[in-house]
Amino acid sequence: MPSKLDTAQAMSSKPTKPNNPFKNSRVSILNKVMPILLFLCAIVSIFTTVGIVITLLSETITFFQSIPFFDFLFGTKWSALIEPKQFGILPLLTGTLLITSIAIGVALPIGLASAIYLSEYAPDKVRRVVKPILEVLAGVPTIVYGYFAISIITPVIQFIFPSAGVYNALSAGIAVGIMIIPMICSLSEDAMRAVPRSLRDGAFALGATRFEVALKIVVPAAFSGIVSSAVLAFSRALGETMIVTLAAGSTPTLTLNPLDSIQTMTAYIVQVSLGDIAHGSVEYGSIFAVGMTLFVFTFLLNLLAQYISRRFREEY
């Protein structure tokens, strides 16, 4: 990055010499003040993170003064709003993981197959039409997916499995899955398209079919990108709130049956926030404890995704 800009900067700093008539003019003051102001803008993001960590930590610590840490982590019953109050996070955790697994189960095969199609099979014309449509899908607010889940997916599920409740994990999980398809698809497609043409040409020259090229050349070469897209989508599904609030119910039960009504961590936070809770009560603290759990999970997953895409990237 050296020469050009540096000389330019050296030249630009010339006018600040003592005999320069512009010395204390608006121009030179602005030139000195603006970098500081801009730095302050940039530092807001650090304050946001620090703010998140401090607020979550301080309220969570207060919460753990009334609820023992081990009861929270290993308790199998969560009833925060009904006596006798119990705060075992396992039901919320399994609920969240159930939704997330269903979502990934739907989105990973479909997203990956779409990515392979768009990057390896689709003619340019088709790609130019399909990609924007998938972007639209990514821009639909989650509340709309929630409506979709309760008005279309749930009735279909109830038709197929009459035992399914009005609120069930499967419906919400499928809707979350549809929501994260574009994310998996576009991130993996980017990774696949970054694989150099020459690798494909080599395989084609050996007589490989397009499917063989896709499966044995492109996917392995883009593997780090694909895995990190899946991890990011997983973290996105963990934090998804409105779909699960609307479609999955609000009964924290320790179950792995996708037809049952469950409650996720995010849905619990919403449920408590909708009621009027006193500041400083155990319920108020429980929002932060649950939020902290969620934050830690998503934070670790995001770091993992960044690590995977950096560490295992194939350089060509």
Partner: protein
């Protein structure tokens, strides 16, 4: 020899067949997303079209579905945007300029950069919790319009910073050099040469971030947007509601009439989002040619 050739030929035709089948499967998978989007839109239009009326814009929420409107939600969302857009624009573009033009290559800079990409992955509900603790309680702003708007600003900031950084990075070095060669200071170069040519890209990013904020529901529920507000906020510290909150309130009720009303409100929300996205695409196309 013949047996080998036959086997070979069979193997090749098997492989070709497999390729064709998988081509169809991949195509079907791709169309799944498109079909889902189509079904979603058709469903919403069928449920909501008949309820679309001016009442929806002019009436306050009501206990009776036929009288209910979302005036307070629309205006609430509008006010939030009026606070959020200038604030997040200044902070986001400022941060992007700092990182791209001024920041020295040191630990702090890479920490800020890493931090921004991490913040972009934090679930929106966690921002809501931050807003609840920081704005609502600590700063004593209560469950008010300003608490909601500030929370949403923090939420969209990382998105805007990343978009603005990309736009600024795309400005060719030659523009900066030309400006410096004319004797311009660093700030004159940035403000009069770099920023104007990065502006279309920045605006596109801001519009996309704003359209994300308009549909965002969870953080506003956490900072205490009310679900029933039959007045317009008169000051920054008044109680408020927003479009998605109103929609949530309607569609979470068991009554079909309210669900359909929710669908009508979703049509309006989606129409606003489509308009925003079209304008983003238009800005991008228009100025891409001029560069």
């Amino acid at each position: 020899m013949n047996i080998f050739q036959d086997a070979n030929r069979r193997q090749i035709s098997n492989r070709r067949l497999k390729d064709q089948w998988l081509h169809i499967i991949f195509l079907l998978a791709t169309s799944f997303g498109i079909i889902a989007l189509t079904v979603l839109i058709i469903d919403i239009v069928i449920d909501g079209w008949s309820n679309l009326s001016p009442d929806l814009f002019t009436n306050f929420p009501s206990r009776k579905a036929e009288d209910a409107g979302m005036k307070s939600g629309l205006i609430g969302s509008l006010y939030i945007m009026l606070i959020l857009i200038p604030l997040s624009f200044i902070l986001g573009v400022g941060a992007a300029i700092y990182l791209e033009e001024y920041a020295p290559k040191n630990r702090l800079t890479s920490l800020i950069q890493l931090n921004i990409s991490t913040l972009a992955g934090v679930p929106s509900i966690v921002y809501g919790i931050l807003g609840l603790a920081l704005f609502v309680r600590m700063l004593g702003l209560q469950k008010s319009l300003i608490s909601g708007a500030l929370t949403m600003t923090l939420l969209v900031l990382p998105v805007i910073i990343v978009a603005a950084q990309e736009a600024i990075r795309a400005v060719p070095r030659s523009r900066r050099d030309a400006s410096f060669a004319l004797g311009a200071t660093k700030w004159q170069t940035v403000s009069r040469s770099v920023l104007p040519s990065a502006m279309p890209g920045i605006l596109t990013g801001v519009i996309l971030a704003v359209s994300r904020a308009i549909g965002e529901t969870a953080p506003l529920i956490i900072v205490g947007a009310s679900t029933y507000v039959a007045f317009l906020p008169q000051s920054l510290t008044d109680a408020f509601t927003a479009m998605p909150i109103q929609i949530y309130n309607w569609i979470s009720r068991p009554s079909v009439a309210f669900k359909d009303l929710g669908a009508s409100a979703i049509i309006i929300l989606l129409a606003i989002l489509i308009l925003l996205n079209i304008s983003a695409v238009m800005i991008r196309n228009r100025y891409q040619k001029n560069l």
